[in-house]
């Protein structure tokens, strides 16, 4: 351990702003990307399901037309 106390650790020898800014934004961005990709995956599946439902609708409509 390079630091003697938690306070020391958080202060980062006076560079707290820069170090924590870097680590903070890095993990925020990475989490954001992870979340975005997850959500995209989910919404694609939903779209596919919606399209299947629409297909059903169209088939019904065509049946009725005939």
């Amino acid at each position: 351990m390079a630091f003697t106390s938690w306070a020391d650790f958080w202060q980062m020898g006076g560079y707290a702003l820069f170090v924590w800014l870097s680590f903070g934004t890095t993990y925020a961005l990475l989490l954001g990307l992870w979340w975005y990709s997850k959500r995209q995956h989910h919404s694609i599946q939903q779209q596919i399901r919606a399209k299947a439902a629409r297909e059903q609708r169209v088939r019904q409509h065509q049946e009725r037309e005939k």
Binding site: R54, E55, R57, V58, H61, Q62
Partner: protein
Amino acid sequence: MSIILAAEALSCVRQDRVLFENLNFQLSAGQVLYIQGKNGAGKSSLLRLLAGLSSPEDGQILFHGKPLSAVAEHFAEQLLFIGHQSGIHPQLTALQNLAFWSALTAQQPADPYQLLGSLGLAGLEDIPCFMLSAGQQRRVSLARLWFTTKPLWILDEPFTSLDQQLIAKLEQHFLQHLASGGVIVLTSHQALSASYPELQALELEYRW
């Protein structure tokens, strides 16, 4: 019966060429003006004149007996014009395009889904229009004819890229519109199949 739209001694010049001269006709409620002619005869040019998009070289157009320029606003309210271009935005869906036209004219379909479905676009209502085929795009554009209350329709080759079935349906709709006192001006290279009660054919000659 009163005359709704009339042309008096109309003539049109494009570039250096006289397309037609001294053209006259009178249209009253329930009548169709079916403009025919070879390619380049001046059909589209005439329709643009009638729609007030350009002004004639000579002669005048009368709407309910008054010159077009005097009643421009009123005329525009009564007119539905669909030209060679279909007037739909390819990035918007069929529904959004309809909503746009509804907003502008304050006339909307009772049930847009049902309308689009009856035009064979069921299931394609919320897809951007560029993903539709040529004929399907045309159908979206023509959907407006089913919920407008405007009496005067000016349509430039409405049948292009439509299949036979839809052409028949469209002509049925024309008949209905005429029966309710509307007026239609249209061009087409295809013969009209329905039997119109009062059809005025106007043959433009290709002049040089």
